[in-house]
Assembly symmetry: C2
Homo-oligomer: 429 residues x 2
Amino acid sequence: MGKNVLVAQSGGPTPVINSSLRGVVEACFDHPDEFGTVYAGHHGIEGVLKEELLDLSAQSREEIALLSTTPAAGAIGTCRYKLKSHQEEDFQRVVDVFRAHDIGYFFYIGGNDSMDTANKIALLAREQGLDLVAVGVPKTIDNDVGDSEFELIDHTPGYGSVARYWALMVQGAEEENRGSSPSDPVLVMQAMGRKIGFIPAAARLADPERETPLLIFMPESGLDLDDLTDAVADMVRERGRALVVVSEGFPVGDLGELRDSFGHVMFSSSALTVERVVVNHLNEVGLPTRGAARGNMPGTDQRHNMIYASTVDLEEAYQVGRKAVEIALRDGNGYMATILREPGEVYQVRYDKVPLEMVANSERHFPEAWIAPSRVDVTDDFLRYARPLIGDSWPSIPLVDGRQRFARLEPIFAEKKLPEYTPQAYRAG
Amino acid sequence: MGKNVLVAQSGGPTPVINSSLRGVVEACFDHPDEFGTVYAGHHGIEGVLKEELLDLSAQSREEIALLSTTPAAGAIGTCRYKLKSHQEEDFQRVVDVFRAHDIGYFFYIGGNDSMDTANKIALLAREQGLDLVAVGVPKTIDNDVGDSEFELIDHTPGYGSVARYWALMVQGAEEENRGSSPSDPVLVMQAMGRKIGFIPAAARLADPERETPLLIFMPESGLDLDDLTDAVADMVRERGRALVVVSEGFPVGDLGELRDSFGHVMFSSSALTVERVVVNHLNEVGLPTRGAARGNMPGTDQRHNMIYASTVDLEEAYQVGRKAVEIALRDGNGYMATILREPGEVYQVRYDKVPLEMVANSERHFPEAWIAPSRVDVTDDFLRYARPLIGDSWPSIPLVDGRQRFARLEPIFAEKKLPEYTPQAYRAG
């Protein structure tokens, strides 16, 4: 029997994050001679610091299989906590917990930052004589893992599902908008992705032939609120209505403070979402009709919704999880499992590895060449890139008594072997 | 060949409104001796006033069949315009258009108000010697058609689908909230239904055993923003997190105005949605943790989303449309087709008729007895009522090239026979 395994998730969830988790876990189970007990860090690295290690080997195989159609991070939890390089005590604690539980393999499901963390933990462990193999598993709805040349990874698991969310949701919104105008001529929809526009860009998949009055405002557009208002007003004049997809990262400026009737400041303008600012602004100054603008803000739903999940994304997320285990066995420490697209007309991918360091030091931007000259649309090259990722079929989600049957893991934890963690004690000691 | 048919929709759309439309149209097609050409009022009664009559008999039968999985009102359009009794010229114009196009049957898909309108049009037509049969087809996501005793109708087509939307969406939200706390301990979700709480109530279907920290704030709760804040804070103290479903009609009070840095009023407090007010208030005063509240506002998506549609609702919407045609043939003028629940443990309905007048003069409220004593939940009696409406299976929505294949009707209109409509000209006589 080999060393034990620790798998953890970091950052915002995706609909397919548990599919990667399942891939890691089932691939480990397939190699009982190489791997011991498979643990999950409960709520990510925070659970490791607290020595809360959920025993996945003790779970029923049926529940593990159900992870594939269980969205978001409810199964093992995620965290926003980041290990920072100056917080040496955090890193030391992780290594100590790994040593105490004989962890030899660390699979970290996350974005660029997590790849950096995984790398640093493995280096520190090795410095201290602990033979730890750390392998990263990419994950993000934002599609911002990797580099801008798409050489480290073609797309991140999670993105295909949120792209499908926007493709299909905007199709329904078009039925609403076409049917309900002229009284509701404008429908504004706020998309996630604070810094990068892959998510709002995917709305174009709803209408690749550009038959609908759809305008897309990405954070990279170079436009401001007045430009947006002008573009929407022009569209309403021309077509009588407009569908507006706006990124939560679109710059709407500072709009002051909300005061009560006594003049007390209630909230700052950050109390308004981009969607609210745009809807209010259109209703105040922008609409050349008597109808009103409406706004939808699906918010976190786009990252925890299994119904829209792409079957392509689900499968790739699973395979990339399995690939990480294969890398750990064959190649050892210091890689991220990755998805690369094969050249040619037919969509095909291969699973490969890239050094964690390269990912950690990379940054992806939405390609400037994929933004249309109008700045309110994407190009067909983007559509050729994104279209295969949303797949061609519905996910098969089990229903029991009318509800989705999600995985339910038993709260079986490894016995704690270390004193409770306080950074102070580590610094002192 | 019988007289021609006019079908129209009114008010906000639902995911299954076109299923009722298909039911009406196909039932008319089944009786070619009794019915002539089937027209749709383009954008509802507004299209009738403008003499814009879409020819449904000229459409391909395949597109008519696809109406069942085409959400919202994009196919024939709806309107917010209401015929008011003092606007006699509007009613007269409708009768004139009906006479000009030999319309003998009028099917009106809508809520209580529409049943009133249909009744008045039929009465005026008959006064003027035009033998018009008007039959109503119920429709609303709010489930507010009929009376509070559920004797006129058990539930309105459209409600089962939005109930399923909330049941399944809140399931995903629970995975997010459980997995992402403690950094995001509270997730607020705004539900439609300004005056009546059937939609937020359906969130309980996500968790009938009450295992999750779900709080439901209906417009009828009798609570205010401070009560809401207290209840959420208590839940966060007790469970570490909370899922908050709040009606758009929940009274959050008047919160002042938004001023820019020069003190100019930018927007009134109506610029904030209930979801924004609640999220801001929780973040300012209400959370006993360091984590933040987040908010989602799906907005119109809940009424134009086919993916969540209930198969029970889709089938009932279709059948109630067919029933309206049967009523027109067998019973004549002045009824609404209705859905009544059979007594017994097993869910079964029968389709019947009720006089339009009775519906027009009725009002439904959410039963007080279905609100839990805590005021932030519903009772099991409500669950027994609502559970069958969401069905037990996924809708079968055709995909073509990765997108939903919605019905596409050709823009074939009846030739106009009357001068353009202006109320002034009608008033002048």
